[in-house]
């Protein structure tokens, strides 16, 4: 049994302690916006915020999570996709298939929370999620837009 604080709600789940947080979020809590891509902390599709920090939920055994840990998934990032990162993503039209995008958005939101004006190097260092469709150029442009930059033709380069 585990007690979890997800998107501001306290939830109790019956699972083995070694179950990855990702699968608890998806299967027990029904929050499927957080994706499975690799299961080994390589791709970032499963990214969530825990106490404000970016974490790859596929590699966190649920038994190590405390009820006092505040977990935010993509569904809890904002109301009506109103987070500046989500708005910039819509403006730049970032997603292709969309599968990696929950993770990309959570990573970008975590970056901007600690660094209001990230440089290209900051973005390179922070954004290590895999996008197989190759949306990287637009992800970069959208982060800059969300950080108060201006949109330029062909993306905010």
């Amino acid at each position: 049994m585990a007690r979890l604080n997800v998107n501001g709600k306290l939830r109790t789940v019956e699972v083995e302690a070694d179950t990855p947080l990702l699968w608890v979020i998806r299967e027990q809590l029904g929050l499927t916006g957080t994706k499975y891509g690799c299961g080994v902390a390589q791709c970032g599709a499963c990214s969530v915020h825990m106490n404000g920090e970016l974490r790859r939920s596929c590699s966190i055994p649920v038994g190590t999570v405390k009820a006092s840990d505040r977990i935010t998934t993509i569904e809890g990032l904002s109301r009506n996709a109103s987070h500046p990162v989500q708005k910039a993503w819509a403006e730049i039209d970032v997603p292709q298939c969309g599968y990696c995008q929950s993770g990309q958005i959570m990573a970008a939101a975590a970056l901007l929370a600690r660094n209001k004006r990230p440089t290209d190097a900051d973005i390179d260092a922070a954004m290590t999620n895999i996008c197989r469709c190759g949306t990287y150029q637009r992800v970069r442009a959208a982060i800059k837009l969300a950080a108060g930059g201006v949109k330029v033709a062909g993306g905010a380069l």
Partner: protein
């Protein structure tokens, strides 16, 4: 909350479908008859698993267009949307002819069962080979235009005026003389009762007059990708659902001998261990994680069927034999290339090689199936809905009209989810053993890497001869490698005459034509098939052959002491479209202008998937051997540009896919199985390695070419040629990470 409302509305439609004697009648509007038998009408899918199929209420004016009383136009999309933007592009083409309000456009995907019941009214559903738009643009535009004509005709009748006096803009029909107007929503019912005009009688708009098509509009499908609300097949939840994890014999061609279920006795939630065909075992449990961890603990004995001794080394020997054999399929033989090369002033020879590559779509293979004695349904991330349908029917033994596929937008396709519907077959075989229970099969990433249909492995031997003026006198190409056609249908290429593997060297125009004229040219293919399954892969064949041809052309140009751009240009006078993109990329990139110290340029052009591509790369190499790509400039002539914004996105995507292959991608074989298992040993390019990409979209508006795949064939060669410029040594074998460039 809104989801519940959506579901109950769906239920209402289904109920009325049943009441309507087996026909789904959208909101019982006259003329909106959907000749969809209730059996194929997605009842459980719509009620339980979200909205699937052509079910929107409203008046079906043509098979492509449903108009709703509030003026929303629902445009039907038969092709798959897997990120490439085809949904938006096709909707733009229909909306352009329909003259509707773009802000009121919605889309829906007919199901394969609906397609079957309506005699393929929407044409082909398969989406691969960059064909989604170019192969359906004509009939979807006519479908939109026919609907416009019918709506105008209905309005003319209502207003009692000649149709010629009406004008329409954004779904509002105006009669200038009387000042009266009607909205599409007001005449849709009447329009739907009219006969559809003969599509061949319709004159389509000229691209110069386009207002919606050809514009860099935003995608229609972005919003649910921003807040986690988009449901991929992997996210599907149905009441009573069970979950399956699968392991297929790691040695290709092998079989299951036995497994020891008792080892899982103490595991919570495990329902059963089942055989899946002859080759795989699945654990079915009450959650996927429980199924997966139980599977990992399950002892399985495999029969490796004699393939356990195959390795990359044995496959390499097989391919080398194909380079050396005198017996090859001679595809082109113009002049006398061997003699021209033998008699040349200077001769250049090189052997190139590219490895097997996995697709590694971000959403791993998965499918959900529910099978009863007389009906089967499956929810599938598919590039080929009709292929999924056929697989489901075959695996369950039920006729096609008792089977239905609910297409889910795949989280990436790249050719993996098209012709090969192995995961649908597996899901069906598993679900068959749990009658009436929906079973969601999810592959682990490890399974996904172990059982792909890989990009075919090949090697290529190229020889060229230069005359005394440094002109290319002869070119000989021998390709040796695996054949996709041989894997799909061995009989079709039993004699080894498989032109498909030579994409990019074609003589005929239109698809993948070689852009060079060489007086003495010989192109050969020696088919060499290993036990590893192969299949299409974003830009397949043109991306391997592009590396061979364009990197070798660089070697030849340098041997001639010529500028690589100018050397190519001299061979391209007969191929103005190839030449135009090459020139455009070179000029935009500032070819020949000085670069910062340590930065070098490379250039390439190649044709594939009906379009002309060229690229220029700027690259530097650090003292530690680290390659940095500073800039990539592309020029693409895809004939017609339906959405330049999305075309640029596809070019950017092809860079990420192509550079991942160039730098890292390699699937190797040991003990008959794939070595690589996840992204730690099959690395994918990330943000820090993504160069700025500039794309020139230069449609000539006299043909329709593809977009999703063409440019990938110049990504690798442009970068490799820039590396050649930097080091003075060609790169002849991929991936680059095998080289020490320090």
């Amino acid at each position: 909350m809104s989801a519940a409302v959506g579901i109950s509305r769906r239920r209402f439609i289904i109920d009325s479908a049943v009441a309507g004697g087996g026909l789904a009648v959208g909101l019982s509007l006259p003329g909106a008859v959907m000749a969809v038998p209730a059996a194929a009408g997605a009842s459980s899918a719509s009620a339980l698993g979200g909205s699937f199929g052509a079910t929107a209420p409203g008046a079906e004016v043509t098979v492509w267009v449903v108009v709703q009383p509030d003026d929303h136009c629902v445009i039907r999309i038969a092709r798959t949307e897997m990120g490439q933007g085809t949904l938006t592009g096709l909707a733009q083409l229909v909306a352009e002819e329909l003259e509707c309000d773009w802000a009121k456009v919605k889309t829906e995907f007919p199901t394969p069962g609906q397609s079957l019941a309506r005699k393929r009214a929407w044409g082909e559903m398969g989406t691969g080979g960059s064909r989604g738009i170019r192969m359906s643009e004509d009939y979807v535009r006519r479908g939109g235009a026919a609907a416009r004509i019918m709506l105008l005709q209905a309005a003319a009748t209502r207003l009692g005026v000649p149709g010629a006096e009406l004008a329409v803009e954004r779904g509002v029909i105006r009669h200038a003389a009387s000042g009266r107007s009607l909205r599409y929503g007001e005449v849709c019912e009447a329009a739907a009762r009219l006969d559809v005009p003969d599509p061949r009688s319709i004159t389509l708009k000229k691209p110069a007059d386009w207002k919606i098509a050809g514009k860099p509009l935003k995608r229609l499908d972005t919003a649910p990708k921003l807040d986690g609300s988009k449901k991929f097949a992997l996210d599907l939840e149905l009441p009573g659902m069970l979950y399956a994890a699968i392991k297929d014999c790691p040695v290709f061609g092998g079989k299951v001998v036995s497994f020891d279920e008792t080892a899982l006795a103490s595991r919570k939630g495990v329902k059963r261990v089942v055989r899946v065909g002859d080759t795989a075992v699945a654990v079915v449990a009450d959650s996927w994680w429980r199924a997966r961890s139980a599977l990992a603990a399950l002892p399985i004995v495999w029969d490796e069927a004699g393939f356990g001794n195959r390795s990359s080394a044995t496959i390499d020997a097989l391919l080398k034999d194909g380079l050396d054999t005198p017996n090859a399929f001679v595809y082109r033989n113009e002049g006398d290339a061997p003699a021209a090369i033998a008699g040349a002033v200077k001769r250049i020879d090189a052997d190139y090689a590219t490895p097997f590559l996995a697709h590694a779509t971000m959403e791993p293979m998965n499918a959900t199936a529910r099978v009863t004695a007389d009906r089967a349904e499956a929810w599938v991330p598919t590039q080929n809905g009709e292929g999924s349908h056929a697989s489901l029917a075959e695996a369950t033994g039920l006729p096609l009209d008792r089977c239905e596929i609910y297409k889910c937008d795949p989280g990436g396709g790249f050719g993996r989810r098209g012709g090969n519907q192995d995961y649908v077959r597996q899901a069906a075989l598993i679900a068959k053993q749990f009658p009436g229970v929906p079973v969601k099969l999810i592959w682990s990433r490890e399974e996904d890497m172990a059982h792909d249909f890989y990009r075919p492995i090949s090697q290529c031997r190229l020889s060229a001869g230069l005359d005394e003026k440094g002109q290319l006198a002869g070119l000989q190409v021998r390709l040796s490698g695996q054949s996709i056609n041989a894997f799909i249908n061995p009989g079709s290429v039993a004699d080894g005459r498989d032109e498909r593997q030579l994409q990019g060297w074609f003589e005929k125009p239109g698809d993948a034509q070689l852009g060079y004229t060489v007086p003495n040219l010989r192109i050969e293919y020696a088919m060499r098939n290993s036990h590893v399954p192969v299949g299409p892969w974003r830009g397949v064949n043109t991306n391997q052959n592009g590396v061979y041809m364009e990197c070798f052309m660089e070697e030849v140009a340098r041997a001639a002491g010529a500028d690589p751009w100018q050397f190519r240009r001299r061979l391209m006078a007969n191929h103005p479209k190839h030449l135009a993109v090459l020139d455009a990329a070179a000029e935009r990139a500032g070819w020949g202008k000085p670069l910062p110290a340590g930065v070098h340029r490379g250039i390439a052009q190649f044709m594939g998937y009906g379009s002309y591509s060229a690229a220029v790369a700027e690259v530097s190499i650090g003292t530690d051997g680290h390659v940095k790509v500073h800039r990539l400039v592309f020029a693409l002539n895809c004939g017609h540009a339906v959405n330049p914004h999305q075309i640029a996105a596809q070019v950017e995507g092809s860079v990420a896919y192509g550079l991942s292959a160039t730098f890292y991608g390699e699937c190797t074989v040991e003990n008959g199985r794939m070595v690589q298992s996840n992204f730690h040993d099959y690395p994918i390019m990330r943000m820090a390695e993504m160069p700025p990409v500039e794309t020139i979209v230069m449609p000539s508006n006299d043909f329709w070419g593809g977009v999703g795949e063409p440019t990938i064939c110049v990504v690798g060669p442009a970068v490799l040629n820039a590396i050649f410029a930097a080091t003075g040594r060609p790169v002849r074998s991929l991936p680059l990470r095998k080289y020490n460039l320090a």
